[in-house]
Structures are given as structure tokens and as C-alpha cells.
């Protein structure tokens, strides 16, 4: 997977590149808005990491220009400003996610992967969390090479949790996804599916776990094996 890093702080660029490389990305880096424009015009990138504070122009302009020219890869914005209006402007201009400096490099990697896990992007076809692999096209789940057969409802819940590894997925969102499968949804449908999923995952020795955030939803985390 190719990632373009647009960041003017040279030392940060070096660190980002080595972090991303170790996470399995091929990282190109540019330090100015102009170079970034050229790189985007010439190369094909799966994801862009864009710092908003560039020496030769606002990153937001670059972002808007890229979207206008039909670039639809996920763009993750880095910013040192965290006022709400800055975030909103970034998302309005077409950013898919933002990270406020200072951030942990591991957070950057997991956010980048989460963006790529969206349907239609590089990691969207086969989802991965710990030792669990989810083929979203063949609708099949493998743990340590063995297929785990799951009913459609549980597959749907697991898919959406895996697309957002490390982040809370609201219960209401999971319910919405199930309406297409079940006509009538019992109020405890999601907890029941999650309960079954947990049991099956742990029986198969999966190195990921589903946590409950009571009152909000669920969170899938990768556990150290």
C-alpha cells in the first residue's frame, strides 16, 4: 500500500516514514504544498497523510483541490489546531479523519488502517484484526487458517466492528445494519449476537476481543498474542 506523507517538519517526516514502513506501507514524503500537488498528479496513492500547516499554503486548499480533481483515496489530516471550527473545516474540505498533534505513531497507523478498511479501499476487501481474517466478498471468517462459520447477523456485527478496530461502534449503528437481515429486531438482539460472537471467537483462540461500552456500543481490540 502506498501512502503519501505531506509534512514540512523534516524530523517528523522521518519518524512517520519509518513507522509506516514497519507497519507495511510504502511511504513517499513531500514537504511543500506544491510538491504534494505534483506527487498526487503523477502517482497513485492508497492514502494521504496531510499536515494542514504547510510553508507554501494551507493544507485545506490542497485537500479541496485534490477532491475537485477526482481523487477519492482516504485523506487523514494532521493538525496542531484542535479548535472545533478547524476540525469542521477539515472534514468539510473532504478529509476522512483528523489527528491532533501530538499523537502516538501507533494511533496514526491504526487510524490509517481504519480508513483503508472502509468498503472500496485497499484494506476493505479483507479485514484483519489480530489473527482473525474477514473476507468481505466471500463472507467468510478465518482464524489461524480455520474457517469459522457464523450466521449472517453475527457476520454483519463482526464486519462492522472489524472495519473500526479500536474504536467504539454505537449499538444503534449495528442495529441499523441488521434491519436489512431481520425484519423485526428484538431489543436485546445485538447483545445476544455479541455474546455468541465472543464465545465463538474465544473458543477458536482469536487474538481479538469485543468490549462493551455500556450505554454506547461495542469496541473490538486486538489483544497481544
Amino acid at each position: 500500500m502506498r501512502v503519501l506523507v505531506v509534512e514540512d517538519e523534516v524530523r517528523l517526516v522521518d519518524l512517520l516514514r519509518s513507522t509506516l514502513t514497519r507497519a507495511g506501507f510504502v511511504a513517499d514524503a513531500v514537504t511543500t504544498s506544491e510538491d504534494a500537488g505534483e506527487a498526487l498528479a503523477v502517482g497513485t496513492y492508497d492514502v494521504v497523510i496531510l499536515d494542514l500547516g504547510l510553508p507554501d499554503g494551507d493544507g485545506l486548499d490542497l485537500l479541496a483541490a485534490a477532491r475537485r480533481s477526482g481523487k477519492n483515496m482516504p485523506i487523514l489530516v494532521l493538525t496542531a489546531r484542535d479548535a472545533v471550527e478547524d476540525r469542521v473545516r477539515g472534514l468539510d474540505a473532504g478529509a476522512d479523519d483528523y489527528l491532533v498533534k501530538p499523537f502516538a505513531a501507533s494511533e496514526l497507523v491504526s487510524r490509517t488502517k481504519a480508513l483503508l478498511r472502509r468498503p472500496g479501499h485497499a484494506l476493505g476487501a479483507t479485514l484483519e484484526a489480530g489473527n482473525v481474517l474477514f473476507d468481505t466478498i466471500g463472507r467468510d471468517v478465518r482464524i489461524r487458517g480455520e474457517t469459522l462459520t457464523l450466521p449472517r447477523q453475527e457476520l454483519s456485527v463482526l464486519e462492522h466492528l472489524m472495519r473500526r478496530v479500536g474504536r467504539v461502534v454505537p449499538k444503534a449503528v449495528l442495529e441499523e445494519k441488521l434491519y436489512g437481515i431481520d425484519d423485526e429486531l428484538a431489543s436485546n438482539a445485538i447483545p445476544v449476537h455479541v455474546h455468541h460472537l465472543r464465545r465463538k471467537l474465544s473458543e477458536c483462540g482469536a487474538t481479538c476481543a469485543i468490549h462493551t461500552v455500556r450505554g454506547i456500543g461495542y469496541l473490538l481490540t486486538e489483544e497481544p498474542s
Binding site: L15, L16, R81, V84, V100, A104, I216
Partner: protein, 469 residues
């Protein structure tokens, strides 16, 4: 002492009334004086005529005594009981030759006497009852030789001046009153008209806040006296806006300047191979990150007081809990949210309130034991509570924990002592409060109370979760 009324209208009314009263009094006094003078002149002429009349009637009798031959009119004037007039006839040497009032005649000896011309005088406090008299003395040649004739009249009987005054009060006073009312009405109307525009400007000024620093007061239609005030106010706003912009820029710049090196430091530490000292350094860097974060929040809160928009607490709490849940779960703590089914609106700035709530949750997660749940509850009365199962807060520390840079004796070196002061500052800026109590069964429960607003929002049972996703 009565306090001077501060309203311009009242002041003008009071002062105009005073001016009118003084003018009326001066007018009355002048009129009284004038009519008194007129009456005096009339009396002088009357007394002179009388004296000349009397002088013609002075005669010497056959026995050599001097006598006055009274006409019926003079008889009535001088000799009627209770007559106010009397006369004294003196010889050249001052001897009394004749008088209508022997009891008063002697005392008239020291009255100023006439020279070539008749002399008119007023004598105060004379005779029984100390009455005021006016007197005319006249030198005359009579069949009895040269004589001095004094004709005097008691003044109380003279009512000309008083009559004029009475007439004046009856005929003119109501007009003065009418004028007074008219002047007051015109004054008040003028002031009201002038102040109407001032009220409009005041309403404009009321809409200027930290979020609307670009607004200026319009001077159109204002009385010229008020224009300098409005211009001065607008200039003060210009200066304040410049100051505010500078401060915001400073905050933003400081954020940028501090965060980028911290990001580099953090990333570099993450790349070093694990060792006890690297782990310590990572902890230090994390602390530094948090401290910078909190200092920036404090700076933001200091420079921009929160606007009074409406915030929905269920959505706000859900967003804060969602944001912090991965971290809390990474710390092996659980987190849960309770809330009423209906919306809870409070007045405030979402950013600031969420900052405060995040601080409370971070504290609770830090101080609660592993595997325990931090419970965030939205309360229908417009409050959020965060309950943990940690050691709790000792009774004597429950006030001081909200002070800036205060750290408890048991602090294990994570915080800078800013978190709770941020919460207290947010609460104060929103007209709310923050309090801490014991969680039933052990631990601390912090409750952030805000000002509830009643919006006619339809009950939206948890739809907000999808909306914020």
C-alpha cells in the same frame, strides 16, 4: 439625605420645576413691590390733598385758639370710631395746636418734619399695637400763622397691594402652572426622543460578545451629544478585538510550536526498543503531552469566555465517552453511560463542557482500580456525574482539589493539578457548579451542574448516537 435621581428625565423635570418656581417667586415679589410702590404714590397724593384741604380749614377762633373747621367728610374720616387716619397740627415752635388723636399726637414729635416741600414717610411700629403708618407733613400758612400739618394713616387698612397680589394669584398663577407643565412635557418628550436612539444602541451593544467581536454600534440618528460616546465605545471595541485576536493567535501559535516537537519526541520514543528507562521516558513524554494539552485548554478558556448556546448533554456525554473508551479499555477499566431517554439541554459551549467532562473521565479512569467501571450519568436536571470506585476524596480536600496546580498528598505523579481546575473554571463560566461526593460503596462521584434550558425538542430516545457516528 435624598439620593439624587440618576435618570436624565427625572433630573430635567426636577431642575425645570425648580427654575419655574424661582421665576414665579421672583415675579410675585417684583409684582408685590411694584404694586406697593404704586399704592405708596397714590397714598401720598391722597394724603397731600387731605393735608392741603385741612390746611385751608385751619382758623383762629375769637378766643385766640386755633381750630379746624371739619366738613362732614373730614369729620367722618378723622373722628369716626376706629378711624385709621389722624392729623396733628403744630405751631412753628412745635406746640400741638390741634389733633384728632391726642393719644398719638405727642409721639409724632420725632417724625421727620417737612421742609419747603411736603414730606412723605413711612413709620414702622407706632402707637398702640405697633402698627405701620404712612405720614405726610406739610408746611402751610394759615390764618393762625405758619403751621406744620401731619396727616397719617394706619397701613393695614390699605389693601391695594394685597388686592393686586390676590388678583395676580387668581389670574396668573394657573398660567404659570400651565407653563410649568408645558415646559416639563416638552423637556421630557425631547429627552425621550433622544434616549430612544440610545436604547436602540444599548440593544446593539447587548449583542456584542466574544463570538461577535466584529459588531460595532451604529451612530445614525443619535443626538450629537451621544456620538462621542458611541465613537469612543467603538474604538474601545476595536482595541479589544485586536487584543482578542492577538491572544487567539498566540494560543494557536503556542499550540503549534509546542505540539510539533512533542509529536517528534513521542514518535521517537515509540521507536526505541523497550527498556525500563525508555518506558519511564515515554511516561514523561505522555505527561508532558497532557500538561501542554491542559495548559492550552486553560489558555483558551481564559481568552474566550463561553458563548451561551444550547448543548445537549446526552449527545455530548456520548461523544466524550466514545472518544475515551478505547483508552480506558486499554487501561483495563470499563466505562458506561447512563442517561434519561429525553434530551437534556443546557446553556454553554459544547467544546468547553466536553473538555470538562473529558477531564473528569480521565481522572476517574486514572484513580479507579482495574476492571472497575467508571460510570458517566446524564441527569435530567441538567448535570453530568462521573463516578469511580477509587480511593475517593477526603472530606477536608473536597474544596481544594479544584484549585489550580493543587495535587493531593497521594498523587502518584501523573497529573499537573490542572484537570479539576479546568472543570471548575468551565462550571463557573457557565454559571454552574462542580461538586464531589462519596460514591455509594466507595470512590468519588463528581457532579458538574449546568444551567438547564427548556427547549421544545422532541424526545429523541438515543437517536443521537447514530447522528454523532
Amino acid at each position: 439625605m435624598m439620593r439624587w435621581p440618576r435618570s436624565l428625565q427625572a433630573q430635567l423635570a426636577l431642575r425645570l420645576t425648580a427654575v419655574l418656581l424661582v421665576a414665579a417667586v421672583i415675579g410675585v415679589v417684583a409684582l408685590f413691590h411694584e404694586s406697593d410702590q404704586t399704592a405708596d404714590t397714590l397714598r401720598r397724593q391722597e394724603l397731600l390733598q387731605r393735608a392741603e384741604d385741612l390746611a385751608r380749614r385751619v382758623d383762629r377762633a375769637a378766643d385766640g385758639t386755633v381750630q379746624v373747621r371739619f366738613s362732614a367728610e373730614l369729620e367722618q374720616l378723622f373722628n369716626a370710631p376706629g378711624a385709621s387716619d389722624f392729623f396733628v397740627l403744630r405751631s412753628e415752635r412745635g406746640d400741638i395746636l390741634a389733633t384728632s388723636r391726642p393719644d398719638l399726637a405727642v409721639a409724632t414729635g420725632d417724625w421727620p418734619s417737612a421742609a419747603a416741600e411736603p414730606r412723605y414717610t413711612r413709620i414702622k411700629r407706632f402707637g398702640p399695637g405697633n402698627r405701620e403708618y404712612c405720614a405726610l407733613s406739610l408746611l402751610a400758612d394759615s390764618p393762625a400763622g405758619p403751621v406744620t400739618l401731619i396727616v397719617a394713616r394706619a397701613l393695614e387698612a390699605d389693601t391695594l397691594a394685597h388686592g393686586v397680589l390676590r388678583d395676580f394669584v387668581r389670574d396668573i398663577a394657573w398660567a404659570v402652572l400651565l407653563f410649568a407643565l408645558a415646559i416639563l412635557a416638552v423637556g421630557i418628550w425631547t429627552i425621550r426622543r433622544g434616549l430612544d436612539s440610545l436604547r436602540a444602541v444599548s440593544a446593539q451593544a447587548g449583542t456584542i460578545g466574544p463570538q461577535t467581536t466584529g459588531l460595532r454600534l451604529a451612530a445614525d440618528g443619535l443626538p450629537s451629544e451621544l456620538r462621542p460616546l458611541v465613537a469612543g465605545f467603538n474604538q474601545a471595541l476595536d482595541r479589544l478585538e485586536r487584543g482578542l485576536i492577538l491572544q487567539r493567535e498566540f494560543t494557536a501559535n503556542a499550540a503549534h510550536q509546542l505540539r510539533t516537537p512533542l509529536a517528534i519526541l513521542t514518535a521517537q520514543l515509540e521507536q526505541l526498543p523497550d527498556s525500563p528507562s525508555v518506558q519511564l521516558l515515554r511516561g514523561d513524554a505522555a505527561r508532558m503531552n497532557r500538561l501542554v494539552e491542559q495548559l492550552l485548554r486553560v489558555a483558551r478558556l481564559d481568552s474566550v469566555p463561553p458563548s451561551q448556546a444550547a448543548v445537549e448533554l446526552n449527545a455530548l456525554a456520548a461523544s466524550a465517552v466514545r472518544g475515551l473508551a478505547p483508552w480506558a479499555i486499554g487501561q483495563k477499566r470499563m466505562i458506561g453511560l447512563d442517561g434519561p431517554d429525553q434530551s437534556v439541554w443546557v446553556s454553554g459551549t459544547a467544546d468547553a463542557v466536553e473538555d470538562a467532562l473529558r477531564n473528569l473521565i480521565e481522572n476517574a479512569v486514572t484513580y479507579s482500580p482495574p476492571q472497575s467501571e467508571v460510570t458517566v450519568s446524564v441527569l435530567a436536571e441538567g448535570a453530568i456525574s462521573v463516578a469511580d470506585r477509587g480511593p475517593g476524596i477526603a472530606e477536608q480536600d473536597r474544596q481544594r482539589i479544584f484549585e489550580r496546580f493543587w495535587r493531593g498528598r497521594t498523587a502518584h505523579g501523573q497529573g499537573a493539578g490542572l484537570g479539576l481546575s479546568i472543570v471548575a473554571q468551565v462550571a463557573a463560566a457557565h454559571g454552574g457548579s462542580i461538586e464531589v461526593a462519596q460514591t455509594p460503596g466507595g470512590g468519588a462521584t463528581f457532579t458538574l451542574r449546568l444551567q438547564k434550558v427548556d427547549l421544545d425538542a422532541e424526545a429523541s430516545p438515543r437517536n443521537w448516537i447514530a447522528a454523532t457516528y
